[in-house]
Structures are given as C-alpha cells and as structure tokens.
Amino acid sequence: MIEVIAGGRWTTIQDRGRPGLERFGIPPGGAADWFAARIANELVGNLPDAAMLECTATGPTLRFDIDRIVAVTGGQVDSAADWQAVRVARGSSLAIGMIAPGLRTYVAVRGGIDVPVVLGSRSFCQLGTFGGGFGRPLAAGDRLPIGRMFGHELVVEPWPPSHRLPLQGPWEVHVIAGPQIDAFTGDALERLAATACRVTPEIDRMGLRLKSPGLRLQSQEILTVPMTAGAIQVTPSGGLIVLHVDHQTTGGYPVIATVVGADLALLAQARPGDTVRFRAVDPAEAARAARRLTDWLHPES
C-alpha cells in the first residue's frame, strides 16, 4: 500500500487509457505523455498496461508501507528515481515536488497501481468523473493498492538521455493535413506552419489553447464530426485548440491538421508561454517519426 501524504497540483492514476469507446462519448484518456509513461513501466519491469501516477506541475508526496521499486520519468524532478528504477524502503517517503522543465511526471511502482478497472482502464476520466480509483485526482489520505502487473526484471541502468524526448520548447510537432483542410483557403496550412504559436495558460488533458500571432484563419462552424487527439481546431474567431487525450469525442469546429500520435507526448510537456511550430508531413514521414520512438523502446527489433 502507498499512502498519499500530499496530493500535489493535479495527480491522477493513468494507464494506456480506454481507446475504442469514443462512440459513447468517452475519451480515450491514458497517460498524456505516452512515451514517458511507457518507459516508467519499462524501468520497473511492469507490463505496458500497468497503471501509474501522472503528476502535473507539482507532484505528490507518497509514503510506502512496504519496500518497493519505483521509477520517475517525464518532466524533470529532483529525485534519485529520475529516469531510473530505485528501491524505496518501507516506511520512507517519496516527494516528487516541483516539475521543471516539462509539465507532467510519471511515477511507476513495480506491480502497478491496482485500482478497479472501469470501462477497460484504470485511468481517471475527468469528463465522466470515473476511474482512477477515486473518480477524482489524488488527495491526502488516499491509499493506493499495488498490483502484480510485472512482466520482467527491472532495468538496472538509468534510461539513456539520448533516448528521451525534449522537455522544453520551442516545440516542433508533426502534423498531417485535414480532415477538414478543405474548409480553409489554399495556403492556410502553410501559413499555420510558418507561425510561431504560443501556449496559453488554458491547457489541460482535454486540450491546449494556442495563440497564433499574426495568423488570421477564417473558419465557421461545421456539422458535428468525430474528433481525435491531436486535432487542431480553428474557432470562428481564429483561435487554435489542439485536442489532447481526454478530448471531446465530437466537435463542430473544422480541423485544419492533426498532430501525429507520437508527438502528443511533446505537447503533454508544453507549458504556458512555450512556442509551438507545426510541421506538415505526409503519412510516410509520420510513420518514420513514430518508428524512431518505438525503436528506442525495443532496440532489438
């Protein structure tokens, strides 16, 4: 059992989410920085589906009532477990503290956090206020049971810095045109790609609102269509909203381009004030970018 001494700013239990239920209005959810989360499980020897803590801006303080192997990845924190599996002794505490650079930090415990599975996942769903064990972010006094979802031995070495994603902007993310690119004038995507967009304070797991100085994109509402994580919606006033893992499943603003799945990990670490540049690629180039990360995870293949 792990006891939460302090909940931190916004700490939730996340795994790989529940994709496939969008037809019920349920977002896929799961760890916002899928790559850091995947490595955290890898380091402690967990199965890829094991649940962990996703910490935001300021992490929690946890007390362990049993010896446990822990790894911390993602946004940088001052911890011996930073990108490395370490043993936390029974009775001792782990304080995650301030996260910087980056915004989200993942705390994986060998065996996984064993809260009940709801609709196929242990992830907290904010829109539906269910899952994540408590149907809310963690708070002081919560007790987290530990499961047995390990698949292999822990990784002894720290995760190599060469195989981590950047934690600071300016961010360059790959996008694929569409699906509603036709709703815009011919050069709209080139103009978007030439614009240094700025992350506003309005960011959460549902999406990020960006400012695009000097860029004026014309758009109007369209008939409600399904949405995906990474969709760059253009509002009638010309604002940009990039949907993230807890996104609304349908929407009525046209989507000029969609951030590729791999790069959602980058946007998960973006902070207000950061610069984001979109680079339009074709599906083949997007596949190569995704493969680079999977090769880091499985160097043998």
């Binding site: 037809r23 829109l127 269509v225 969609t258």
Partner: protein, 225 residues
C-alpha cells in the same frame, strides 16, 4: 415501409470524402447537413465495417453524416483502409432499424427558457409544445460521455448557441442549439440554451452499454410538472 428509408443512396454516395485524421485514423464524410438518410448511410457503413472488419481497423465513431475509423498504423495505412472502405460504397442497406420511441420525462424549467421564448416570439407554453410535440432521431452520442445529440428541431424554435458557454451544465440538462436538441448526460461545459432537465440517467460507467442511447434510436420529450 420502415422509417427513414431513402432511395437516394447512389446520389448521396458520390459525396463521400475520405481524409486522414492524423496518422491513426481516417474520416469518411458522407454529407454536411442533418438528414436521416445520411445517418442511415453512416450506420449502415458502420455495421458493414464491424461485420467484415478490414485488416487493421480498430474501432469506429459515427456522428450525423460522418464516420471515423481508427486503425493500427503497424498493420494498415490511410490509403489501404480507404480502399477497403470504398468497397462498401453503395452496397449497404440504408434504412435505420426501427426501435421503440423512448420517453424522456422532462421538467421544462431551464434557465434559458424565458430568453428562448422571447427570441422565438413564443409563449413558454408554446415553446414547450413545439419541443415536446415530436419524435426525435438520435444522430450522435459524443462530445462528453453519453451526451445525446438529437434532431431535428422545428425551425420555429431554432436559436443560436449562447454567446459564451457555461463552464458547468448539470447532468440531465436538456438544451437546444440550431436545429439540434441534446441531453447532457454528465456535468460538463456547454453552450446550448437550457430549456429543461430530466432525472433519467443517460450514462453509467458500470453498465453495459454505458450509455442509454445510440445513434439511430428515437425519443420524445414528455413534459412533467
């Protein structure tokens, strides 16, 4: 003849547009208006894809006149899946299976009812009569868990969305926007004009299915005091 049958399938088929929605999904857009015939096509294509699942297809999301297909990029790609989808063009049954009309007990006391009545030059009673006086088709479950999009509203009570959305709309709220009416299944932000509410629970994460409605279902609002 079953309701919502269309004989315009071949004509509407020509309007299909298939576009990538990122590197793991493609969107098939069948039309751009609220039309039961278009929903019929979407649901028929959805059923056909579930029955004869093309390689790499993971799941689908239907909405009004479009269908999203999520795929495994390790198994297929946009071009191959688009080819597979095109083979269903024109081959599908387009009538919406008939289901019983579900009654929604509705207390018409929404905060925007007086304002909507003013805008539409109706008395509140007249507005309620128009809203409750017809059967609606469920066009989509989306936005937030269980949110139920229905149509089409009579033109007389079609009003634009609120200028600025509410941050919190309580679960069970019934709203209208344009020619749509909808039921908020969970508390969420929302920009629709709220005219009533129901105690009916439309989303329950512990139930199977988790939502009360699916596209193609039919419902009617029944005023209660």
């Amino acid at each position: 003849m079953p309701p919502y049958t269309t004989s315009r399938a071949s004509r509407v088929d020509e309007m299909w547009r298939i576009a990538p929605a990122g590197d793991r999904a493609l969107l098939i857009t069948i039309g751009t208006v609220i039309d039961p015939a278009l929903l019929g096509q979407v649901l028929a294509l959805d059923r056909a894809l579930q029955d004869q699942r093309p390689r790499g297809l993971l799941s689908t999301v239907p909405a009004y006149a479009s269908l999203l297909c999520r795929f495994d990029p390790g198994v297929t790609d946009v071009a191959r899946l688009a080819d597979a989808v095109r083979q269903f063009k024109g081959a599908e049954e387009v009538s919406i299976p008939s289901t019983p009309v579900v009654e929604i007990p509705t207390r018409y006391d929404g905060p925007d009812l007086p304002e909507v009545a003013l805008k539409t030059l109706l008395t509140p009673a007249g507005l309620i009569e128009l809203h409750a006086g017809r059967e609606y088709l469920v066009y989509c479950v989306g936005f937030a868990p269980g949110f139920t999009y229905c149509g089409a509203l009579p033109d007389e009570i079609a009003v634009p969305r609120l200028a600025s959305p509410r941050l919190r709309v309580p679960a069970g709220s019934i709203g209208i926007a344009g020619r749509q009416t909808g039921i908020y299944a969970v508390e969420s932000p929302g920009g629709w004009n709220l005219i009533g509410r129901t105690a009916l629970r439309l989303f329950d994460p512990s139930a199977d299915p988790s939502t009360r409605f699916k596209p193609g279902d039919r419902l009617r609002f029944v005023p209660i005091p």
